[in-house]
Every structure is written in structure tokens, then in C-alpha cells.
Amino acid sequence: MTVTSPVRVPPRAPRPDGGRRPDADVTSRAPWPLAVPAVVAVAFLLLPLVGLLLRASWRDLPRLLLESEASGALRLSLVTATIATVISLILGVPLAWVLARARFRGRGLLRALVTLPLVLPPVVGGVALLFALGRRGFVGQYLDQWFGLTLPFTSAGVVLAETFVAMPFLVVTVEGAFRSADLGLEEAAATLGSRPFATFRRVTLPLIAPSLIAGSVLCWARALGEFGATITFAGNLPGVTQTMPLAVYQALERDPDAAVALSLVLLVVSVAVLALLRERWLHPGATL
């Protein structure tokens, strides 16, 4: 159980440049000051998941999932996260294009502001949403007075909270793709008489499709895991606003075994997301 010998990284497939000897052994052997912390890091990241798997009462799993509010919460989570992703696509892709291509003053500031939810603690986002769109919020009070529309404690409120937190992930991913997309192809389309929006739709979008998919999955996964903004802004009611993370949190107080069972469901969904993105993330040298 001692980690004394350096971890040997298995040789990779021959490099495309083919110039170097594959066994040049300069980088393939990790020096121990790197190997030991790396192993600790991996253990640290995997240990909690092992804890979850060890604690799971596998025999009771079906009963726990059927008895708890799991199915309703899972359905609500899947539906709201998907709607939040669709809204993020409809609004976020144009925003990403503007941030990447349009030239105007204050663009850097705008980018910083709209990506703020990336780093903002979600519960702060929930409080902010409450004071903007809540029943007494500066926008929400008019929604209530004029349209009789209140968003807190509704499934629409859940979608809103999730979109607020998740859309920046899509925007950042897609913006990067717009930046690195080959302008030459768009120019070629333009010289052939394509109108700007047609070029965007038929040339640019297909060009950035991989990033669009990656950004959508990332956004969807973030929406699926949303907790802080949801419980703050949308409250907690089974079937209406209680998403999976909220159900896990609530179950932990009543029946930890049920919380573990619900967590396993989310773990499976997360692994599925990772599998979807494997080309992008598990590829050596991949970036977001």
C-alpha cells in the first residue's frame, strides 16, 4: 500500500508527428513529487463516491426509489433542466455570437457581467432572483399586479433559477467556438451571395456544432444539479419545485438510505453525461 515507485504512464499511441521516438522516456515517467500528489488528488476525488457506493443498501434500492418522491423529482429535474437548456440555447447562442463577433464598447464588461453566475454562489443567485422576480421584487411586483403572475414556488421558477445558473456555461463554451471558427468559410459564403443570417445558420452553426453540443450538455448537467438558487427562489414542494438535489437534501434528514439511493440515480445520470462528453473531456489535452 506504499506509493514508492513512480507511476509509469502507459505508452501512448504513436504521435501523429512521428518525429520523436515513442520511448523517449522524458515525460512518460512521472517524478515522485508529481506522482504522489496526483495519486492523493485522485483518491480525494474518488473517495466520496466510494463512500456513497459503500453506504448504498443495494437490496433496498428499488423499494427506496419507489417509496420516496424519487420518480416525481427525477421527472421534474429532467423536464426543467431540458427546458432551461432550450432557453439557454435560444438566448445564449445569440449572446455568445455578440460577445465573440460584435464590436462595441464595453464588450469585456458585458462578458464579465453575463458570466458572473458562473462564479456566483447559486444561493446568492436565488436571493437576487427573489428580489428581482419575487412577488415583491422590482420586476416581479408588476408581473403580479398586471398579469397575476408569480414565479416563486412554481415549476417555471425552477426553470428560471436553473437557466440563470446554467446559461453562462453554454455561453462561454459557444463563444469560444465562435472565436476560433474559420472566418474564411463565412467570407466564402458571403461572396457567394449568402445573406448574413443564412451564413450564420448554414455555415457558422454547423461549424461550431461540437461545441454547441458540449455546451448544451454542460448547461443541462449544471441545471440538473442546481440546488441553491432553486430552494431559495422556487421553494421546495414535491412534484412542483422539488428537484432531485432538493429531494436528496430533504431525504438526508428523514432517511439517509433514501438520500443515498437518490444520489446514486444522480451519479448514474452524471456518468452518462460524462460518457456523452468523453471525446471532449477524456481526450488528452482537451479544454472546455
Binding site: G134, R136, N236, L237, E253
Partner: protein, 269 residues
């Protein structure tokens, strides 16, 4: 390309599982000597630090009691963790390093005692529910029956939390079917939704309405249908400073403690 990665991951997972196994066995081995150790070298005076897990409804009164206790015992420091009794009970059973637990219901304390994490709790107060409405009472709530109206947005605590369990009892006693818009994590979260005006009414404790001052208005629930909940307190077996923990529990149970609690609206058990 994937195979070496998978091999590495599998190896690491195996190592991690081993580590986890070692970790849990060593910690349980180490626990026993550490315990007898602390028993043999107990500090005779009430000095040191303790952590008190207390029901959310005790936030104001226990903060006051804690300050008084620290004033009387200058070498003592008390850290409070306020939250839903059910959640605190789970944390204690799962090994959270707390010294004292004050629950808003016998049920959650019983769970802790059943897990052998505490012994012989004493009841120090009881509490009853009240309806809290935002200032101005926008939905014109005047009786308990108004909470069953379709146009009244009601927040209650989730059923696992004492205030939620008692609220369900009260609704049942009054023969009402109340459909809340949200089941909040603890009584203070319910109160907050009322203070913010996001709901028209919330079912909280009498003590919470009192503590909120003019941020909410209280509407009494008739004694005939109202239900009380008991507040038990106990020192925890895992306490590293059982003397100080006991001293704090004694101060809560003392006449001074009772006067702070009754000023906050709690009733004597």
C-alpha cells in the same frame, strides 16, 4: 486510448477502496482509547470549547443563553449550529463533532438516543404554533381556516421537521386540508418566506413571531386545535468536553435559563 486510462482508474479505485477500508477500521480502533483518554484527563473547570446543535426555533434564545454562559465562564467558548432538528439529528448520528443537542421534538432526540449518541435527555421547554402573516396581511388571513383558501399562499415546514409535523397535526385537528406552496427546510426558512412577502401566511412557532418583531404579524391558533412540541436537551456521547457540555445543559435547565426562554415565548414543560 481509453484502455490505459480505464486501467489507471480501476487501479486507483481499488487503492481508494482499500484506503477507505483502512480508514474506517483505524478510526473505530482509535475512538475507544481517545475516549478513555479524555475521561482520565478531564478539566475540572468549565473551560474550553463546545459545539451546540440546536433547533432553528432556538436561534435567538440560545444565542442569548450562550452569551450569558460565556460571560459567567470566561474560559468557555460555545459555537452554535442552528438548523432543522431532523437534519441535526442525522448529522449527529453520522458522527458530526457536537457536544450538546437541543431538539424541537422528542422524535429527533429519540433517534439520537437510539443511535447511542446521547443519554437521558431532559425537557426544558415546550412551544406552540402560530400563523405568521406579512405586515399589512395582504391576503386578509384572520383564522386558521383561511389557510385552506385557494387564493392564500401558505408556507409550512417540511414534514420531517418538528414544525412541519406539528403543523400537520394542527391541520388534522381542525379538519382542514391546506395545500402549501412550499415545504421549507426549517422554521426560520418558513418565517423568511413570510417576512419577504413571498407567501401570504406561514405556520411557525409563537416564539418565531415574537423574535421577528414587526416584520411579521402573528395570528393565534385556538388552543383547542393547537399542538405543542417538547424541547429535549442532552449532552452527546462523542463530546470531547463533557464537563463543559453538562455545564451548558445545566444552565439551560436553570432558573436563569427558564427566564430567558419564557421571555422568548417558550412555555415551561
Amino acid at each position: 486510448m481509453l484502455r490505459p486510462l480505464l486501467a489507471t482508474l480501476t487501479a486507483v479505485a481499488a487503492v481508494t477502496a482499500l484506503l477507505a477500508g483502512c480508514g474506517s477500521s483505524t478510526s473505530s480502533d482509535a475512538e475507544a482509547p481517545a475516549h478513555s483518554d479524555s475521561a482520565s484527563t478531564t478539566a475540572p473547570t468549565s473551560a474550553g470549547e463546545i459545539t451546540v446543535f440546536a433547533a432553528a426555533s432556538l436561534t435567538e434564545s440560545f444565542t442569548t443563553l450562550g452569551k450569558q454562559f460565556e460571560a459567567a465562564h470566561p474560559d468557555a467558548r460555545i459555537t452554535f449550529s442552528f438548523g432543522p432538528s431532523s437534519g441535526l439529528a442525522t448529522q449527529i448520528i453520522e458522527g458530526a463533532p457536537a457536544d450538546v443537542f437541543a431538539s424541537a421534538s422528542d422524535k429527533n432526540m429519540d433517534a439520537v438516543v437510539a443511535a447511542r449518541a446521547a443519554e437521558t435527555p431532559s425537557t426544558f421547554a415546550t412551544n406552540v404554533l402560530e400563523i405568521a402573516v406579512p405586515p399589512g396581511n395582504p391576503a386578509n388571513v384572520t383564522t386558521l381556516a383561511d389557510l385552506a383558501r385557494a387564493d392564500v399562499k401558505v408556507a409550512v415546514c417540511q414534514p420531517a421537521v418538528p414544525c412541519g409535523a406539528v403543523a400537520a397535526k394542527v391541520f388534522a385537528a381542525a379538519g382542514l386540508t391546506v395545500t402549501p406552496v412550499t415545504l421549507e427546510a426549517d422554521v426560520k426558512a418558513t418565517l423568511t418566506k413570510v417576512e419577504l412577502g413571498e407567501v401570504d401566511a406561514g405556520v411557525v412557532y409563537v416564539t418565531d413571531v415574537l423574535a421577528a418583531g414587526d416584520k411579521v404579524t402573528g395570528i393565534e391558533i385556538p388552543a383547542g386545535v393547537n399542538s405543542a412540541t417538547s424541547y429535549p436537551i442532552a449532552t452527546l456521547s462523542a463530546s470531547k468536553n463533557p464537563d463543559l457540555a453538562k455545564a451548558f445543559v445545566d444552565s439551560v435547565l436553570s432558573a436563569d435559563g427558564a427566564s430567558v426562554l419564557s421571555a422568548a415565548g417558550f412555555q415551561k414543560p
